[in-house]
Symmetry: C2
Subunit: 392 residues, 2 copies
């Protein structure tokens, strides 16, 4: 394999330059440099995960410190054994350093600062997060690739279903189809709380089981150590099956949900799925640069109220407090489309819209799509599986 033992700069230099420019533009006054150590941000800056550090100075100078493996070469790359070995190459004295406080455990970050003699440090995570929220053309291409590959697998889901299956049995067949199609499996979340395996397949009343996380529909899960998703319910005719599975094919993720059903859907289910599609389309139309995310949430809310569907919108027993979220290397990034969000859309944002409904004693219904906010015109949908209810 050509991936073996091949030291290289995986991202083109001009791509790195664009990303670094966005990061330094987001650096607050008084911050001299950023020191990056977490997998998500190392991947963003280099195109691969390794054990080590990337240092970004305010003027855009970038240096790489590799502990292992030896995957990068070049003048800016130094191999080190311990963090303190950086001190031969860079001085932190008198500097204010942005550290990855949102991604790094308290003790690891404190030890790192101690080892490097960094006395003044601030939270630098936001600089990376805001840069990552506006995708480059290369990142958008990667996400479109995910959307296409995920769509191919979603189209095959009816063929994976057999009568009498449980939710988890169907989920496992979807997992297998995704993995054989190249899905990497890893479901990266921002923050340390949320744990998801490869996504969720939820049918019937399980949609109403409360989750520890801010999900529209949680699902009880198979075990209290991972209380989310499929719970072993048999898929019954007339009960919707909501499929929301992993779209990570290249380190980026797309998020797509479709609702499947064995037997005939009731008018209520048809209506909920149609409203979900209409809300997606309306928000996508309004999702232009400069749009306020709280206004986009309000648009959804208004359509739901007009249809009298508030009691089941984004959950029934428990209501999730948003209708959409940014995504990229992780599934939960800015911007967030929520009632009190201060986020304003920018061209290059990638957002998932998921206006979903939980109909009591019936189940979860709705679609979710991933969109790219474009410089002009409506947002572009990049998860292109048909949005109609799909017959199993």
């Amino acid at each position: 394999m050509d991936r073996l033992h091949q030291p290289l700069q995986l991202l083109p230099a001009d791509e790195v330059a664009v990303r670094v420019a966005k990061i330094t533009a987001a650096m607050p006054d008084g911050v001299d440099m950023l020191l990056v150590n977490d997998n998500v941000n190392l991947f963003y800056l280099t195109g691969r995960v390794f054990l080590g550090y990337v240092l970004i100075e305010r003027d855009g100078a970038i240096r790489y410190f590799l502990r292992r493996p030896s995957v990068l070469t070049g003048e800016e790359v130094t191999e080190i054994r311990r963090p303190a070995d950086m001190l031969g190459h860079v001085s932190f004295e008198g500097k204010t350093v942005g550290l990855m406080e949102d991604e790094t455990p308290y003790s690891s970050l404190s030890r790192l600062a101690d080892a490097l003699g960094i006395v003044n440090y601030v939270n630098g995570s936001g600089c990376l997060r805001s840069a990552r929220a506006v995708k480059t053309p290369l990142e958008i291409r990667l996400m479109k690739e995910c959307g296409m590959r995920q769509t191919e697998v979603y189209r095959r889901i009816p063929h994976l279903y057999r009568e009498g299956m449980t939710d988890i049995e169907l989920q496992v067949e979807i997992e297998r189809a995704l993995r054989l199609a190249g899905c990497l499996g890893q479901f990266r979340c921002s923050g340390s709380e949320m744990e998801i395996f490869m996504g969720n397949v939820i049918t019937g009343e399980n949609a109403d089981a409360p989750s520890p996380y801010d999900f529209a529909m949680g699902g009880a899960g198979l075990h209290p150590s991972l209380p989310v998703g499929a719970d072993g319910s048999i898929i019954c005719p007339g009960k919707p099956v909501m499929v929301d599975m992993n779209g990570n094919f290249n380190g980026y993720m797309t998020d797509m949900t479709r609702t499947f059903i064995a037997g005939e859907p009731s008018a209520e289910i048809e209506r909920a799925n149609s409203l979900s599609r209409d809300i997606c389309a309306a928000i996508a139309d309004a999702a232009v640069p400069g749009a306020e995310c709280k206004a986009l949430y309000a648009l959804a809310d208004e359509m739901v109220r007009e249809a009298g569907m508030e009691p089941s919108f984004m959950g029934h027993t428990f209501h999730a407090g948003f209708v959409g979220h940014g995504l990229g290397i992780t599934i939960n990034e800015p911007p967030v489309l929520a009632p009190r969000s201060r986020d304003v859309l920018q061209a290059g944002n990638t957002i998932a819209l998921e206006p979903k409904f939980v109909i009591p004693h019936v189940g979860a219904v709705g679609v979710e799509n991933t969109y790219v906010v474009r410089p002009e015109g409506s947002a572009e949908r990049i998860t292109l599986a048909p949005e109609e209810l799909v017959q199993l």
Copy 2:
């Protein structure tokens, strides 16, 4: 499903009492209480994951603060909306509080301390970690169950193989078999660095690809965003296939590796697998309470030297610096069997022994087993698949 909407104390009260007694025994002088917030330790203390906090006082008093869902009931349980709501029920003033500094991001932990007015805090993670390292009889039963269920799936691996398969194709069939057998999939690691999906299947030269982590054999992985494990290599006759896949069936994990081969194994491969088995058996014999982990590592080292196998022990291009590790809710816990380990075995420790070899241009060979350290006699193996090379 009976898991829905069912508030209950999932762990028996006497089990909780035993665990809490171990935790308070590990509290350093001067620490008044521990505040637990991370999924692994919440699961340890309650038998389920939720969003909230558990407070343990030095005298063993325990209180539960639930944000969601409402899964626990009882006098000691309080439902809260925000962390600050705890202040109506407990005062941290003048107290020294152990916080979960190894598990919680720097910014989350700082915000939590601020919200609760906790000025004096120390790292309380070690108290939980050392308690968790000594399993209770209930935990040992759960881990034995994992070992049995994992073994059942491993026995079926030859039937999953088809000629011409790649490593990842075989891995996906093993993933499916594990999942259909009830494996939860989630592969919990301590620390924020290590990312693994559902384990690794490695064949041929890919065993020699360096990894960011301290693994005997890394594998290049399918993509630089997850640079570990199978890389798409075709499984060739005469080249070993090392299978090291997820044993999480109930929130606990067992760790088991077996080596498979299509065609006839060479004498060199046979010899390496035999030596791996012999080292496991020798360490298991010596793994009694009071044994020094560095002495157990030295025992392995001596057997490897006698056999002249140092160049391929625990890797070829890169050598991992250990031969075994504790495990339980996460895959990497104390004790560690490494040259400079200060750990001393205790009855109730559960350890994985993995003396593995990478033969250049051939591949990875060896076994890995999970053991329980018993009050008397040798450690008990709980991953019971046959240890011989398995014909594909």
